[in-house]
């Protein structure tokens, strides 16, 4: 992992570690139901225990997303969402809080704006970096250059299907943290956390990653508690999107608070788990 650039995401995760817990990362798509709500909900997440926030760019062809996020992003686009407004959302949250704000985006909107231009504007807005679900390091040369130039984090994904060679290569390419996909599938709530997640986190750590966060299918405090016992951070998406859909900004704050309870656990237990 390249560390010569100060990583905002890494700093946020390390701050949580110093408090003896894993980091909580919350996702919401920009512009759902409107831009101001996304900003307000981001602030509510930050004030209720989230350490990092992912703001998604609604995209016409979200192949890694399940029904809840698809429905939200489709509605945001139908309501006139424009890609450049994601920078306003990032700025609105970073100005009001001290959380790290990452943008999660499919790659074509970045290509269309220009990778350098997009990166420049994201850095200017105070953003920490990008999570790129359909960009693998093999295709990311432009993004390497721009993220180095503007000091942005590069969060690539690893999956249970990733080979040891690809794990090593992806860890090397990432900055901030590595996003471990808990299960083979798309985003959305699931009854239980996949057992493949723990092994993947262990393998990714063994491949040299300092920080590995787990996402996909994490929807309640019990999931958070389970994952927090072996990962550096826990990522929650669809459950928060369902919360803003059904109960607005207040419900997002409430759910974040409940989820963050899952992070609080005896430090001794955490140590045992990590050593195991």
């Amino acid at each position: 992992m390249s560390e010569q650039i100060t990583s905002k995401s890494a700093a946020a995760i390390d701050r949580a570690h110093r408090e003896g817990r894993a980091a909580l990362i919350g996702y919401l798509p920009a512009g759902y139901p409107d831009l101001q709500s996304t900003i307000d909900a981001g602030i509510a997440m930050a004030r209720n225990g989230a350490d990092l926030i992912e703001i998604g760019i609604p995209y016409s062809d979200p192949v890694m997303d399940g029904p809840v996020i698809q429905a939200a992003t489709t509605e945001a686009i139908a309501n006139g969402f424009r890609v450049a407004s994601v920078f306003d959302v990032v700025r609105g949250i970073t100005e009001a809080t001290d959380v790290a704000v990452l943008v999660m985006t499919y790659w074509n909107p970045v290509v269309r704006m220009g990778v350098d231009e997009f990166s420049r504007r994201l850095a200017e807005a105070g953003g920490a970096g990008l999570i790129t679900p359909d960009l693998i390091p093999d295709e990311a040369s432009e993004w390497f250059a721009a993220s180095d130039k503007y000091g942005l984090d590069r969060v690539f994904l690893v999956a249970p299907s990733s080979s040891p060679e690809r794990l090593a290569m992806t860890v090397e390419a990432s900055r901030g943290f590595v996003y471990a996909v808990s299960i083979m599938g798309v985003t959305g709530a699931r009854a239980a956390v996949s057992s493949s997640a723990e092994q993947l986190v262990a393998n990714t750590h063994a491949a040299g990653a300092k920080r590995v966060c787990v996402g996909l299918g994490v929807s309640n405090a019990s999931h958070v508690r389970e994952i927090a016992s072996y990962a550096d951070g826990v990522i929650v998406g669809s459950a928060l999107v369902a919360a803003i859909r059904d109960g607005g900004v207040d419900a997002v704050g409430q759910l974040t608070k409940e989820l963050s309870v899952g992070l609080q656990k005896p430090a001794a237990a955490a140590t045992t788990q990590e050593e195991a």
């Binding site: 192949v63 890609v83 970045v110 269309r112 679900p133 994904l157 299907s161």
Partner: protein, 458 residues
Amino acid sequence: MVRLMVDAQAASTGENAAEAFLQGGASLRHAPGPYFGSYGGRWMPESLIAALDELEDTFEKAKADPEFIAQLHELNKNYSGRPSLLTEAKRFSEHAGGARIFLKREDLNHTGSHKINNVLGQALLAKRMGKTRVIAETGAGQHGVASATAAALLGLECVVYMGAEDCRRQALNVARMQLLGATVIPVTNGSQTLKDAINDALRDWVTNVHDTHYLLGTAAGAHPFPAMVRFFHEVIGEEARAQILEQTGRLPDAVCACIGGGSNAIGIFHGFLDDPSVKIFGFEAGGEGVETGRHAATITLGRPGVLHGARSYLMQDEDGQTIESHSISAGLDYPGVGPEHSYLADIGRVSYQPVTDAEAMDAFRLLCRTEGIIPAIESSHALAGALRVGRSLTEGKENPADTIVIVNLSGRGDKDVQTAAEWFDMLDENGQVKGTTLSTRKPKGPQGSAADSSEVQK
């Protein structure tokens, strides 16, 4: 229109580049991927990379395995009916300035289109990988029917994703797939057409990749799909080249094909890419006219982007959101295009031009009435283009019959009869073919009334 002229200029300078490329001795055939110039690659979630690696590995080994090649050849010959014919369209030719038009008869293959070439190859690979389930996307239903056919033949479970709007437009093909034992899942996301069916197929694949092969239907998507799908369709161009040499003693002046994702086109083009004297034309769906915005002319008016795993020309708005395409032909109604076509366009080896719905339907009717062949509406775009190319190449020529043009007749039009009947105003206000509802006899007995009452219950 200005843009089109600029493009034509770029193409003509590019043509020199392509000729220089050929004279330099480098071949344009058998490009292995993952990149075709700056196009192609793997713009895909990490979760699927292992499956793509496995597929690439299996495909490379199979290609070099005489047993696999023999198996494929046997199926092509004794199941699909290859080689497909090359038919001279003498009466149709009269409308092309007198150029001799030859039709590569992919419409005569089993299941009625070129699609069978690719599905048999990929289904064999799925078996080699030990996968028990195949999934596919389909627009008009041709690829879905072909996939269901190959799955039935080889004993694989088959699930086909089809836009809900396309299910409505092509209900008969839904029934065909079901008769063949496939499950058809109507896709209600997004525009409910082909691109959304691909999205849902990818979501299925990422979830079930351990036992499932994604049988992608066109020469697009992430590596190795573009090069692999082309490989299975190269037989079209190889046969056509040998057949025209046999029938006329020389190479054609031009080869024409229609372009959606571009699989039939890349298959026939491939036979002629290294023949500098052969002009090659790809005809995209111009829909209601490229100036209306309602079209699927991806290379003509799109710009490079990434979608469904490859960098290629793409119909997109200023934000990089995919634009909905429009075409009377469901099979060409796709806002992307295979990456090798983007490359061949940029270097000027192939000229890509739009053909409108109206031009395609005129050519559709003309072929019906001059040759006794009902073509697919997709292929009718290539026919319309060939009329244009024939007229232009014979202009001012003393003996127009010296000009030879091959058209890839990629599919038959049985599936399009309903669309054509609507287009040519053959239906009454109830959607029945005019003149077919005059019978005064009552439907017979209990069967008739049972059918009636079940209609009412719906």
